[in-house]
C-alpha cells in the first residue's frame, strides 16, 4: 500500500466518492479513498434511495434542489456507462393530523421561495396519484413531481468510476485505526494495512464518523442509530411516487424492478453500530403499510436489512474545516439523508478544502453551531 498521499478520504460511500471526484476534477492529485468494507458497503448501500425537495428548512430545500438537478444529468456529467436509474415520479407526503397539514403549508412556503414546484393536494387528487392509498385515515397530502428515487449503488459507482478515471486511488478493505498529528496538524492515517502520511484528511465515515473524530480528540454530537428497511417480492408497476408520512412514520417506493422498498423509524433502535434486523420492525412496518396502502399488505417480504443514521441534534449535516486540527475536515451527521445530499457534499467540501468561494453556502452547518446554540432544526424527517 502507498505510504503517502496529498488527500486521504475516509469512507467509500456516496459522500467520500463525491468529495474524491470533485477534488480530482479541480486538479487535486494523489487522492486516496479508504473504505472499511467495499464501495457503497455502508449506509449508502443500505439507504431508502429517495431524493426529495419537500423540506422545512431553506438550506435543505436548496441542497436537495441542487442534488436533484445534478442527478437529472448525472449519467452525462459523470460519463457513466451504466444508468443511475433516476425516476422522477414525485414524493407524495401524506398526513393524518391537522397539525401536520399546517406544517406542510409552512414548508411549502419555504419550498416555493426556493423555486421548488411542490403543492398541497386534495385527498381525491392524492388517490388519483396513488390509487391504492387509504385516504379514509388521512387529512391531506403534499406532492412534488420533481422528487423521486435512484439507485444508490449505481450512483455511487458513477462517482467512483469518474473519480478513478481522474486518478483517485480507492483502497478497500482498509480500516482506519488511528490518526496522527504533529504541531496541531494532521500528519498521517494509521490503518490495519499500514500508515499513510498526509496533511489532509476528510472524515466521510458515515456511521463511524464519531470514532474518526475521536482519533484526533474532536468531540462531535452525533449518534449512529440503526434504521431498518424491508423489500417485498416484485409485482407489475402500480405506484409511481414515493409515499411518505412523518406522522404515520413510513416511506415506501416501488422500485423499477417492481419490488416495494419501505422503512420507518423507531425510538428504541440500538445505537451501538449494529445493523441487524428485528422482528419488531417487520411487524410494525407490516401494520403501518397494511393500514395506509392496503394492497401492498398482500405481498411477501423477501428481505430485511438495516443501515445507520448518523444523527446530529438538529438533523442537519456537519460540514466542517476543523479549527483545532489543521488539515482535518468532516462531512458527517447526515441524519438519514446523506445519499440525497451527495452531490452537494462533494461541491461544498472540495471548495472548503481548496479555499474557493462557495457555490453553495453551508457555513451555517459548521460544528460550532451546536456550542453557540445556532441549530437549524429540520421538522420533516422519518
Amino acid at each position: 500500500m502507498r505510504n503517502s498521499a496529498d488527500v486521504v478520504i475516509i469512507g467509500g460511500g456516496i459522500s467520500g466518492c463525491s468529495v474524491a471526484y470533485n477534488l480530482a476534477k479541480k486538479g487535486v492529485k494523489n487522492i486516496v479513498v479508504l473504505e472499511k468494507r467495499f464501495i457503497c458497503g455502508g449506509s449508502t448501500g443500505a439507504c431508502g434511495a429517495g431524493v426529495r425537495m419537500q423540506w422545512g428548512t431553506e438550506m435543505n430545500c436548496l441542497f436537495s434542489k441542487y442534488s436533484i438537478e445534478f442527478f437529472e444529468h448525472a449519467n452525462e456529467t459523470l460519463e457513466y456507462d451504466g444508468d443511475i436509474e433516476f425516476k422522477q415520479k414525485g414524493y407524495l407526503l401524506i398526513a393524518d393530523t391537522d397539525r401536520e397539514i399546517e406544517q406542510f403549508k409552512k414548508n411549502i412556503e419555504v419550498q416555493h421561495a426556493c423555486g421548488i414546484p411542490s403543492r398541497m393536494v386534495s385527498l381525491d387528487e392524492a388517490r388519483s396519484i396513488v390509487p391504492h392509498l387509504n385516504t379514509s385515515i388521512l387529512k391531506g397530502a403534499a406532492f412534488c413531481e420533481k422528487d423521486g428515487f435512484l439507485n444508490p449503488f449505481h450512483t455511487t459507482d458513477a462517482y467512483y468510476r469518474a473519480a478513478r478515471r481522474l486518478g483517485v486511488e480507492f483502497l478497500h478493505p482498509v480500516t482506519v485505526i488511528g490518526l496522527t498529528t504533529s504541531g496541531g496538524r494532521i500528519s498521517g492515517v494509521v490503518t490495519d494495512k499500514g500508515v499513510i502520511h498526509t496533511n489532509c484528511v476528510i472524515n466521510a465515515a458515515g456511521g463511524a464518523s464519531k470514532q474518526i473524530c475521536d482519533m484526533v480528540g474532536i468531540s462531535v454530537p452525533v449518534i449512529s442509530e440503526r434504521h431498518q428497511i424491508l423489500v417485498t417480492e416484485p409485482v407489475e408497476p402500480m405506484q409511481e411516487p414515493m409515499v411518505m408520512s412523518f406522522g404515520l412514520n413510513l416511506y415506501v417506493q416501488q422500485s423499477p424492478h417492481g419490488s416495494f422498498i419501505m422503512g420507518r423509524g423507531c425510538d428504541a433502535e440500538p445505537r451501538d453500530g449494529r445493523v441487524t434486523s428485528s422482528h419488531e420492525f417487520l411487524s410494525e412496518m407490516a401494520k403501518t403499510i397494511t393500514r395506509t396502502l392496503p394492497p401492498i399488505g398482500k405481498l411477501r417480504v423477501v428481505r430485511q436489512w438495516a443501515g445507520l443514521y448518523n444523527i446530529t441534534p438538529d438533523r442537519q449535516p456537519i460540514y466542517e474545516k476543523s479549527a483545532d486540527v489543521n488539515g482535518f475536515y468532516m462531512c458527517i451527521g447526515f441524519s438519514g439523508h446523506g445519499f440525497m445530499f451527495g452531490p452537494v457534499t462533494g461541491v461544498v467540501m472540495s471548495e472548503m478544502i481548496l479555499g474557493e468561494t462557495p457555490t453553495i453556502d453551508a457555513s451555517k452547518l459548521s460544528l460550532g453551531r451546536f456550542g453557540r446554540g445556532e441549530m437549524v432544526f429540520e421538522p420533516s424527517v422519518v
Binding site: 417480492e233 416484485p234 409485482v235 407489475e236 402500480m238 394492497p295 401492498i296 398482500k298 405481498l299 411477501r300
Partner: protein, 101 residues
C-alpha cells in the same frame, strides 16, 4: 405422470376432484399440489422468464425457485408446487410479475 411408488414417501391419494386451468377442467386428487395435478395432465410450460421470456418448467418443487408462480383464484404469484389443489379452484398461467389490487 404421477409417482406411484416411492422408496421413502407414502402417497395417500385422496378422492378425485376437478379444477380449472386456463379455462379447461383438469382432474386431480385431494391432498396433492396444483403442480402435481398439472404435471400429471401433461402441462410442461408453467410461465416465461421475465427478461428473456424463455419457457419455464417444473423445477424446484419446494416453493423456492419462482418457476411455477401462477394466478390462483385471482391471486398472483402463488407457488403452485406447494399449494394444495382444491375442488373448483381457478388456476391461470401468469405472464409478468403479477398484478395486485
Amino acid at each position: 405422470m404421477r409417482i406411484e411408488n416411492h422408496p421413502v414417501l407414502d402417497f395417500k391419494r385422496g378422492k378425485q376432484i376437478s379444477f380449472i386451468f386456463n379455462g379447461k377442467a383438469i382432474d386431480a386428487f385431494e391432498g396433492e399440489t396444483i403442480q402435481a395435478a398439472l404435471h400429471a395432465a401433461g402441462v410442461r410450460v408453467l410461465g416465461h422468464s421475465l427478461t428473456l421470456h424463455r419457457p419455464r418448467g417444473f423445477y424446484c418443487a419446494i416453493g423456492n425457485c419462482s418457476s411455477c408462480m401462477m394466478v390462483v383464484d385471482g391471486v398472483p404469484n402463488v407457488r403452485t408446487c406447494v399449494t394444495p389443489v382444491r375442488e373448483g379452484m381457478v388456476v391461470e398461467l401468469q405472464e409478468g410479475k403479477g398484478i395486485i389490487e
